[in-house]
C-alpha cells in the first residue's frame, strides 16, 4: 500500500531522513521505533503529506504523493486518520465538535446523524457522555482517546499513531494498546505507529522497523526484533546506555 523510496529530508542543515526506504503492506500494523528526535514523527508527517521530502518518492496505492496537488492530497487524506502525539484537539471546540469536525467539513449529514456517529466513535474508544466538555477539562489519557475517536470518525483505511502511549500512565498505555488492536480488527485498517515504548510495540505490531540515522536499519516481526543480533537495535530494545548508539542525538 505504501512504498517510501529514497526519501531525504533536511531541516536547516540537519539531515533527518537519509535516503530512507520502507514498504508497508495493506492491512498490517507497522510500528516504527527509534530514539527521541530521530525523525519518526517527521516520517509520519511525510506519509500523510504534511511535509514534502527534499528528494525521493512516497507511493500510496501506486500514486506518488510528493508530486500531487494539494487538492488531490486532500482527497487522499479523507481515507486517512491521524492521532497526534499530544492529541492536537482544537481548543476552542468541545469534545463532540472535535470528533465531528471531519464529518461536518466533508459530509452533508444532519445534526442527529452526526450526534449519533460522535457517540458511536466515543463509545468505541471507551468514552461516554463527555461530548460537551472542552479539551482543557480532559486528562492526558482522555485527550488521546478523543483524538483517536476523531481520527476514526470518517472510517479511514489507514490510521497513523504518533507516540500513542507517550505521556500516559502504564495502565492507560495498555488500554490504548488494546484500543489500537481492537480498532485494527473491527475496522480492518492499515496502521502505522511510531513509538519508543517497546512494550507497546511488541503488543500491537505485525512488523517493527527501527529508524536510526535517517534510515530504517532493521525490519522484523516482534519476535525477530526481540532476538536481533544487530547491536544498534539490541542496544535500543534493551534500553542500555552502552553501545554503538551515541549518548545524545
Amino acid at each position: 500500500m505504501i512504498d517510501i523510496r529514497q526519501v531525504t529530508k533536511f531541516f536547516d542543515k540537519k539531515k533527518v531522513l537519509a535516503k530512507l526506504d520502507l514498504k508497508i503492506n495493506k492491512g498490517e500494523t507497522f510500528v516504527i521505533i527509534g530514539r527521541s528526535g530521530c525523525g519518526k514523527s517527521v516520517l509520519l508527517k511525510h506519509i500523510i503529506g504534511i511535509l514534502k521530502p527534499d528528494s525521493g518518492e512516497i507511493m500510496i496505492d501506486g500514486r506518488n504523493i510528493t508530486t500531487m496537488s494539494e487538492r488531490d492530497l486532500n482527497t487522499l487524506r479523507l481515507r486517512f486518520g491521524m492521532l497526534f502525539q499530544g492529541a492536537a484537539l482544537f481548543d476552542s471546540l468541545t469534545v463532540g465538535e472535535n470528533v465531528a469536525f471531519g464529518l461536518i467539513e466533508h459530509q452533508s449529514l444532519g445534526k442527529e446523524q452526526i450526534y449519533t456517529l460522535v457517540k458511536e466513535k466515543l463509545a468505541l474508544v471507551g468514552l461516554e457522555s463527555i461530548e460537551d466538555l472542552m479539551p482543557s477539562e480532559l486528562s492526558g489519557g482522555m485527550k488521546k482517546r478523543v483524538g483517536l475517536a476523531r481520527a476514526i470518525a470518517m472510517n479511514p483505511e489507514l490510521i497513523l499513531y504518533d507516540e500513542p502511549t507517550t505521556g500516559v500512565d502504564p495502565i492507560m498505555a495498555d488500554a490504548i494498546n488494546n484500543l489500537i488492536l481492537d480498532l485494527h480488527s473491527k475496522l480492518s485498517v492499515t496502521s502505522i505507529a511510531v513509538t519508543h515504548d517497546m512494550r507497546s510495540a511488541y503488543r500491537i505490531a505485525d512488523r517493527i522497523g527501527m529508524l536510526y540515522q535517517g534510515k530504517i536499519i532493521e525490519i522484523g516481526t516482534p519476535d525477530e526484533i526481540k532476538n536481533t543480533k544487530n547491536p544498534v537495535v539490541r542496544q535500543f530494545i534493551t534500553g542500555s546506555a552502552h553501545g554503538p548508539i551515541a549518548g545524545h542525538t
Binding site: K45, I48, G49, I50, E70, L73, N74, T75, R77, L78, F80, G81, M82, F84, Q85, G86, A88, L89, F90, D91, F101, G102, E105, H106
Partner: protein, 255 residues
C-alpha cells in the same frame, strides 16, 4: 566590516523571504475567500470577537483623540482669531487620518496579537497539522474568517471612531474652550464625502494588513510558549510599521 555586511545581507534576505511568503499567503487567502463552501459561523464568530468586542476601546480612542486635538490646536487658532475653524480641523483630521490610523493601531495591538497568539499556539500544539491531516485548508479555516472580519469591520469601527472623535472635540471645544457651537458644526460642512470614504478605504486596507501579518506570524511560530510570545510581539510591531508606511502611500494616492 565583514560581519556588518554579513548580518545586513542575512537581514535583507530574511525580509525578502518573509515578504514573499506573506504575499503567497495573501493570494491564497483571496483564493479561498471566493471559493466555496463558505463557513458563515466561523466568520460571524470572528466578527463578534474583532468588531463588537473592540468597540469600547475604539470609542474611547476616538473620543480622546478628538478632545486632545482641540486642546492642542485651540491656542494657536485663538491667537489668529480663527478658532471657529477648529471644527474643520477636527473633521478633516479624524476622517482622513487619525480615525483610520489610530483605530488600526489599536486593533493591531488588541486583535492582531490575539490572532497571532491563537494561531501560534495551534501551530506549536500541532492543531494546524491536524487540520491539514483532516483535509481542511488551514488558510480557509483560520485565515479567511479573520481576513474578512478585519477588512470589513475596520471601516465600520473607524466610522465610530470618527464620530466620537468629532463629538469629543465638539464637547471640549464648545464647553471647555468656549468656541461657539454653531461655528464648530458649520465648519464641518467643509468635509467632502470623499474625505470620509477615502479614510474608510484606508481603514479597509489596514484591516487586511492586520489580518495577513498576524496570521502569517502565527503560522511560522515555533519553540513553544516563548516562540508564540515572540511571534506575537513581532506581529504587532510589523503590523504597526506597515500601517504607518502604507498610510503615507495611500494618503498620496487617495487625497
Amino acid at each position: 566590516m565583514f560581519h556588518f555586511f554579513y548580518f545586513l545581507g542575512r537581514y535583507c534576505l530574511k525580509a525578502v523571504d518573509n515578504l514573499g511568503r506573506i504575499s503567497m499567503l495573501f493570494l491564497e487567502t483571496i483564493y479561498w475567500t471566493v471559493t466555496p463552501p463558505f463557513k458563515k459561523k466561523n466568520m460571524l464568530d470572528q466578527m463578534v470577537k474583532i468588531g463588537i468586542k473592540s468597540l469600547p476601546v475604539v470609542l474611547i480612542t476616538g473620543a480622546f483623540t478628538g478632545m486632545v486635538l482641540v486642546v492642542q490646536t485651540y491656542y494657536q487658532f485663538h491667537q489668529l482669531s480663527v478658532e471657529s475653524g477648529i471644527g474643520a480641523v477636527v473633521g478633516f483630521s479624524m476622517t482622513r487620518e487619525l480615525g483610520p490610523v489610530l483605530t488600526a493601531l489599536i486593533l493591531a495591538g488588541r486583535v492582531g496579537a490575539a490572532i497571532t497568539a491563537e494561531i501560534g499556539t495551534m501551530k506549536v500544539t500541532e492543531q494546524v497539522d491536524a487540520l491539514q491531516a483532516m483535509a481542511v485548508s488551514p488558510v480557509k479555516y483560520l485565515v479567511v474568517p479573520r481576513f474578512i472580519a478585519c477588512t470589513a469591520l475596520l471601516p465600520i469601527l473607524t466610522v465610530f471612531s470618527d464620530f466620537t472623535g468629532i463629538f469629543g472635540g465638539y464637547l471640549v471645544g464648545v464647553k471647555m474652550m468656549g468656541i461657539h457651537g454653531t461655528f464648530f458644526l458649520d465648519n464641518l460642512k467643509f468635509l467632502d464625502p470623499s474625505d470620509i470614504v477615502n479614510g474608510l478605504v484606508k481603514a479597509s486596507f489596514f484591516g487586511m494588513i492586520i489580518a495577513i501579518v498576524s496570521c502569517y506570524r502565527g503560522f511560522i511560530a515555533q519553540g513553544g510558549a516563548e516562540g508564540v510570545g515572540r511571534a506575537t510581539t513581532i506581529s504587532v510591531v510589523a503590523s504597526c510599521m506597515l500601517i504607518l508606511v502604507s498610510d503615507f502611500f495611500l494618503s498620496v494616492l487617495l487625497f
